[in-house]
């Protein structure tokens, strides 16, 4: 408030009073949501303090006594932590590497469908998996990959031997990436299609008059038109490389035999904290990831604003 009065300068308090009298109902509307944010978003942020304090079941929410960086030193020397750190980057990275170009290509191909009813139909079908519970997606994956499922049937029919996909670590990344693309392919095109519909039709006419065929038009009009969207999404995706976007899917699909390639930071935090009761240790790991995320996301957002002039939020 002090800063605001300084800005408005002479008579600031008076105009602030008038402002509140005029808009008090709008401020009142926000009151409950703001209290919600304080309790359910900001108090847990403060709760991260138990990464530096010893917390036992039944302690107060802020823990018992200071422990300094003890828990951080512990996980830095924990090979299981580094395994989960590596897997987080690898799974996110491989998914981004494959899904990102595939989504753009799919959006470009969708844009070339001439029959609008057919286009709408394809959109309806391809958006659908996005709305399906991750529990059901995991269930589908397990059914399709089970030893009596269709994929193993095909392998056996062609003379191979059935593979226990779900319990083999070397298959986890493939399952993770493929199911992610199945679920997100259609939905992720929405922002690109939005950008395409915003391209000025005159640009296509001009290109056409210059003798550009439809391929050249896609190359020289459509792609440059969606380039800012591509850049923004790419940068922000890179910014969340260390995040736990698909945490629930990993949780539902991994098992001790696949920890080697499947255990990510979030699942590790879950097992250490709620599984074995090392609350402070798990909070320290979670906080570490949270800080990396803030730094990466902020950097990505600033970079996106500088290079493309837009950011998502």
């Amino acid at each position: 408030m002090a800063a605001k009065q300084k800005v408005t300068g002479y008579g600031g308090r008076k105009s602030l009073g008038r402002h509140f009298r005029k808009y008090w109902q709008l401020y009142a509307m926000m009151l409950i949501p703001i209290i919600y944010y304080i309790i359910f978003r900001y108090v847990p942020m403060l709760g991260n303090i138990i990464a530096f304090r010893r917390y036992r079941a039944g302690s107060s929410i802020l823990g018992d006594e200071w422990s300094g960086f003890k828990y951080f030193r512990q996980f830095i020397h924990d090979s299981n932590f580094w395994r989960s750190f590596r897997n987080t980057l690898l799974l996110n990275g491989k998914y981004l590497l494959i899904s990102f170009p595939v989504t753009i290509i799919f959006a470009l191909l969708l844009n070339e469908i001439k029959n609008m009813k057919f286009k709408k139909f394809v959109q309806t079908i391809t958006y659908l998996p996005h709305f399906i519970s991750i529990v059901i997606v995991a269930g589908m994956i397990r059914e399709l990959l089970s030893t009596s499922g269709p994929i193993n049937n095909a392998i056996v029919a062609s003379g191979g031997e059935a593979i226990q996909f779900i319990s083999l670590p070397q298959w986890f990344t493939t399952i993770f990436v493929a199911s992610g693309i199945w679920q997100g392919l259609g939905w992720n095109t929405i922002l690109y299609l939005a950008a395409m519909s915003g391209i000025n039709p005159e640009l296509y006419e001009a290109a056409s008059l210059d003798g550009a065929g439809r391929f050249k038009q896609a190359l020289h009009v459509t792609i440059p038109g969606i380039l800012p969207t591509i850049m923004t999404l790419l940068i922000l995706n890179i910014g969340s490389l260390c995040g736990s976007v698909a945490f629930e899917k990993v949780m539902l699909l991994y098992q001790p035999t696949t920890y080697e390639t499947a255990d990510i930071i979030a699942t590790y935090v879950y097992r250490m904290g709620l599984g074995s009761g090392n609350y402070s240790y798990a909070t320290a790991v979670g906080l570490f990831q949270g800080i990396i995320n803030v730094v990466l996301l902020t950097a990505a957002n600033v970079f996106s604003k500088r290079t493309t002039g837009s950011s998502l939020y």
Partner: protein, 300 residues
């Protein structure tokens, strides 16, 4: 106001259509049909399994057409003393959750959309910051426990009752409502809140429909908060029941035989029944959410 539709993509004006391009469009259409089949295949497979006999599944005969058609599995699942009660829980939670979420998100998003509201310089960043940094799983869990919310429905509803991303989408939509209309309403004697309720809200059907779908899907599909907070099995939503169903059998596919394939039947049936409402509702709201997402997503 961008009432643009994805369908109106700049098409009409492209004149040169070469023979090569015509071949391409045919191939493209075929490719799209294949993509649709790939998208639908897992659903069809589940449906086929849920209607198939145990023997056919054991023999691996079931593709996308049921073999040994029977509705026994459905009878079994629907009369079990777990599935329907949990399904009912989900319906109740989804309704309570979606209604609360819509009210709270509107209450926040509408004032945020008013540029003249000075407090937004503080409230905006206060809200957006939570997209960059969150409390994390353990502090959230400790908070819920110390508030005494563990094993209550509130612990299932509250964590997702305001989604910052959705609030931002709503704010963008409210910004596109012409301010003159609200001002006219105020001249006619409406208060600020009245202008929201009687002018802005009726004009915001697309975003309200979109948010209804998004929050409904969020609560319908939520299993994790039940997993963390709901200890009493009678309080479980069906998604969490499904999770226990899925994770028990297929990890030990080794000990195949009768027990496992009966489970495959039942699992498919339970999954089909759980996904069905979402699949039925969503196509009707699609035209709204494409619009809502585009408006919110494109704006900076």
């Amino acid at each position: 106001m961008a009432k643009k539709n994805v369908d109106d993509a700049p098409m009409a004006s492209r004149m040169i259509i070469s023979k090569g391009y015509r071949t391409f469009t045919v191939i493209n259409d075929i490719f799209m049909v294949i993509i649709c089949l790939v998208m639908l295949y897992p659903f069809l497979y589940l449906v086929a399994q849920s209607f198939s006999s145990t023997e056919a599944i054991v023999a691996g005969k079931v593709g996308i057409v049921p073999v040994g058609f029977s509705v026994e599995t459905y009878k079994y699942v629907l009369t079990s003393n777990v599935f329907l009660p949990d399904y009912l829980n989900t319906v109740i939670y989804a309704v309570i959750g979606t209604v609360s979420a819509l009210i709270l998100s509107c209450l926040l998003a509408y004032p945020l959309s008013k540029k003249e509201l000075r407090g937004n310089k503080i409230v905006g960043p206060f809200i957006i910051f939570t997209m960059y940094f969150a409390g994390g799983m353990i502090p959230n869990y400790i908070l819920m426990t110390s508030l005494g919310l563990k094993d209550t429905v509130a612990a299932f509803i509250l964590p997702g009752v305001i989604s910052t991303y959705y609030v931002i989408l709503m704010r963008s939509f409210f910004e596109s409502v012409p301010a003159e209309l609200e001002e006219a309403g105020e001249i006619d004697g409406l208060s600020k809140f009245g202008a929201f309720l009687h002018v802005a809200l009726p004009m915001s059907k697309p975003i309200i429909a979109t948010m209804t779908l998004f929050y409904l899907v969020q609560y319908w599909n939520n299993w994790f908060d039940a997993f963390l907070y709901l200890d009493t099995p009678t309080k479980w939503p069906v998604a969490y029941y499904l999770r226990t169903l899925i994770s028990t059998s297929s990890s030990s596919a080794e000990d195949a035989g009768e027990a496992m394939t009966i489970a495959a039947n039942i699992k498919s049936c339970a999954m089909v029944l759980t996904a069905a409402p979402i699949i039925c509702v969503y196509p009707f709201i699609q035209k709204y959410f494409v619009q809502g997402m585009m408006l919110g997503g494109v704006k900076g």
